[in-house]
Amino acid sequence: MSGTFVGMPAFPAAAREAVGDATLRANLRHATHTIRDKRARAVAELDDWAALREAGRRIKDHTLRHLDTYLVQLEESVTAAGGTVHWAADADEANAIVTELVRATGEREVVKVKSMATQEIGLNEALEEAGIRAYETDLAELIVQLGKDRPSHILVPAIHRNRGEIGAIFRREMAGWGRPAPEGLTDSPAELAEAARLHLREKFLRAKVGISGANFMVAETGTLVVLESEGNGRMCLTLPETLISVVGIEKVVPTWRDLEVFLQTLPRSSTAERMNPYTSTWTGTTDGDGPKTFHLVLLDNGRTDTLADEVGRQALRCIRCSACLNVCPVYERAGGHAYGSVYPGPIGAILSPQLRGMGSEIDRSLPFASSLCGACYEVCPVAIDIPEVLVHLRERVAEGGEVVRNGARITVRPAKGHAAERAAMRAAAWAFRRPGVLRTGQRLASGTRRLHPRRLPGPGRAWSASRELPEVPRESFRDWWQRTQGGPAEGSTK
C-alpha cells in the first residue's frame, strides 16, 4: 500500500494518541454523527431495504465464485468497445503499467478522480518518481494532498479536518500547486468549495490524461461506473484525451441490471442521499465524445489471496460506502490514521490484513481493533459480517493456520506477542472443563478479597488505569446455591 503508511505503530498505540487529541475527537464526532442519522433516514425511505441488501450480497458472492469467468467476459466486452485491458498481479506491476501508459502520451501531469485502488498501490508516489505530477481533484483528496497529510476515511479522506483547518491549508498551500486561494478566503464551506473550483479548473481544462478507479464494472457490457458528487469525476472522465482506470478485480458485476441494486444502496449508505449528484457510465470509447483512448488496469494485489479464505472473502463484497466507519464507536475515537492503511475503520480492519498479509505489527493488531459491537454489520449494504471476519483473523494471529500469500498456500505460526495470552487461554480452558477447579479458584479469590489492590501493576493497568476493579464477593453463587438450595453435590464431569 501507500508508502506513507510504512512503519505505522500498532493500532492501540496509534489510537492512544488520537483519543488524546481533543480537536480530532470533536471533528470526527461531529462528522460521523451528522451522517449517521441522515443515513438512517435515507435507508428508511426504502421499505425493501432488506431485500436490496440481500440481493447485493448474493450478486457479489456469485460474482466472486465465478470471478475468472466474469473477468474474461469483461475483458472481451471492454476490448470490443475500443478499450485496452491490462492485468496487474500486484501494486508494483500496476504502477509500472500506468507510468508507462502516461509516458507514452508524452504528458508530465495527470488529473485524478478519487480512487481507493490507486491510493492502495501508491500510484501518486510512483508517478512522482517517474517525473509525472498527479493532481488529486476530489475536494477531500485535494485537502489531503495540499496538507501533505494521509487519508483517514474512505469517502471523505479529510474527515479529520474541520473547516478552520481546511481554510488554513488552502490559504497556505494552494499557491504552491497552481492558482492561489482567493484573497480573503474565509472558512465557510461554500467559499472553500468555490476556492477548490477555481484552483482546479485550469488543471481540468488543460488535462490530457485522466486517471480514475471505478465503483462497478459490468462484465456483459464492458461498462464502467463512477459515482461522485462534485463533478471532478466528470471532468477527469470526459475532458482528457486518454483515460486510465485502475480497478480492483472484485468490482466486476455480471449484468447491467445488477446496477439497479447498487445504484440504490450505495448513495444512501455513503452520503445518505437518494442519489449522488453525478454518476458516469462509459463503455470503451465513444466517437467524438470523451477520451479517444481508454485503458483498464485490472488489479489483484492480494484480492485473490483474500478470495482463497472462505470466511474472509466476504470482505471483497465491499462497495466502499463507508457506512461502517460512520457508525463505528472505535473509529470515531481512534480516527482513521490509527488503522495504518488507506482502508480505515471496521472494513479496513478486515481488508488491510488480508490484502497485505499479516506480516506487520499493525496488520496483526487490526483484527483486535474492535469491541465486536456489530454496528458495522448492521449498516453494511452488502451484509459483510465484519465481526465474524475480525474474530476469524484474530484466530490467524493467535493460533496461526493456513493462508494464501501471492497465490501460494502457506502455514503461518501463531504471533509471538500472544504467547502469554495463549498460555492463559489454555489454562482457562483446562480449568473450565473442571468445575471443581473453578470453585477452588473462586474460593481462593473470596478468601483473599481484603488483600486485593485497587489498581493493578503491569498488564493489569490496562484495566485499572481508568476503571475500578469489581469487588470479589464473600461467596460465589455456586457456594450459595449449594448452601441454601440444597443443590446436588458437585457433579463429576469426567
Binding site: 454496528a375 482457562a428 473442571r434 468445575p435 479458584g441 479469590a445 490496562a462 475500578e468 438450595q485 443443590g487
Partner: protein, 258 residues
C-alpha cells in the same frame, strides 16, 4: 416448568447477587430453577479472542451439562449470543476443517433452547409485568449482543416499564457500544475507556440513580468507570430490578403512586 440457570462464569464468581435475583424472580413466577453445578463457561472469551479451538471443549461441556433441560436461561446477552449464534458456527467451521459434522451435532440440541433472561420472560413465560417494585430513577443501556445479535428489541424496556415505582429515563446514544468488548477492554484500553467515559457522561446527563443493563460484563466496565469518577450512579443488572418487591425495600406500592 423446570429450567436450568446458566449463570455464566463471570456472574458466578463476581456477581452472585444477579444469580440470586434470577432464582428469586423465576421462582416467584412459578418456574422451577435448577443450577447444574457442573456448569462453567460458554467459551465466549476464547472464541472472540481468536482461540476458537480452545472454545470447542467448553462448548461441548456446556452441551453436556445443559443438554437434558427443557430450557436454559442466562442473564447475559453475550453468553446467550455465544450459544445461539456462534455454537452453530463452531460446528460449521469444524466441518469446513474436514472434521465432519460431529461437533455440530453435539452442540445443536442446546442452541434453540438457550434463552437470554428477557426473552425467556416475555416470549416463553409471556409476562411483561413480573410484579416488581423498584423505587428509583433508572436509565437503560441495551448491550450490543442483546441488541444486535439476539435482537432483544423492546423486551427489556417493556419489562422495566411495568416495574412499580421505577422511573425510566432515556439514555442518549443508548445503542452505542459501552466499550467493554471482552479482551478489547485491555487490548485497546484507551479507546475502551473513552467509549466507557462517553457512555457514563450520557448516563449522568439523564439524572438517573441507576444504570441498568442485562449483562454484567458491560456493567463491570461501566460500574468501574463510574466509581472511579465518583458519579454516584450505581450499576444494576436488570434481573436485580425485576426481582425486587415492595417487601424488600419496605416501600409501599400505593404511596409510590403507581
Amino acid at each position: 416448568m423446570r429450567v436450568a440457570l446458566f449463570l455464566t462464569c463471570v456472574n458466578d464468581t463476581l456477581y452472585p447477587g444477579t444469580g440470586r435475583a434470577v432464582v428469586k424472580l423465576l421462582t416467584r413466577l412459578g418456574v422451577e430453577v435448577d443450577f447444574p453445578m457442573a456448569q462453567t463457561c460458554c467459551g465466549q472469551a476464547h472464541y472472540n479472542t481468536g482461540y476458537r479451538h480452545g472454545a470447542e471443549p467448553l462448548a461441548r461441556h456446556y452441551a453436556e451439562v445443559f443438554g437434558g433441560y427443557e430450557a436454559i436461561v442466562t442473564p447475559s446477552g453475550s453468553c446467550a449470543a455465544m450459544v445461539r449464534e456462534l455454537y452453530p458456527r463452531l460446528g460449521a467451521r469444524a466441518a469446513a476443517e474436514g472434521r465432519g459434522g460431529e461437533l455440530a451435532r453435539v452442540l445443536a440440541p442446546v442452541v434453540p433452547k438457550t434463552y437470554e433472561l428477557t426473552e425467556f420472560l416475555v416470549d416463553v413465560l409471556g409476562v411483561v409485568d413480573v410484579g416488581a417494585y423498584y423505587p428509583h430513577r433508572v436509565t437503560y443501556h441495551p448491550t450490543c449482543h442483546g441488541l444486535r445479535s439476539l435482537g432483544l428489541g423492546d423486551r427489556p424496556r417493556r419489562l422495566l416499564e411495568a416495574v412499580r415505582g421505577l422511573e425510566l429515563v432515556e439514555l442518549p446514544g443508548a445503542e452505542e457500544c459501552c466499550g467493554f468488548g471482552g479482551t478489547f477492554a485491555v487490548k485497546n484500553p484507551d479507546v475502551s475507556a473513552a467509549m466507557g467515559l462517553d457512555k457514563v457522561r450520557n448516563a449522568e446527563s439523564t439524572g438517573a440513580e441507576r444504570l441498568c443493563a442485562a449483562d454484567n460484563s458491560c456493567l463491570m466496565h461501566l460500574g468501574g468507570t463510574m466509581s472511579r469518577l465518583r458519579t454516584g450512579i450505581e450499576p444494576v443488572h436488570l434481573a436485580e430490578i425485576l426481582a425486587g418487591t415492595a417487601a424488600d425495600t419496605g416501600g409501599d406500592i400505593e404511596e409510590a403512586g403507581v
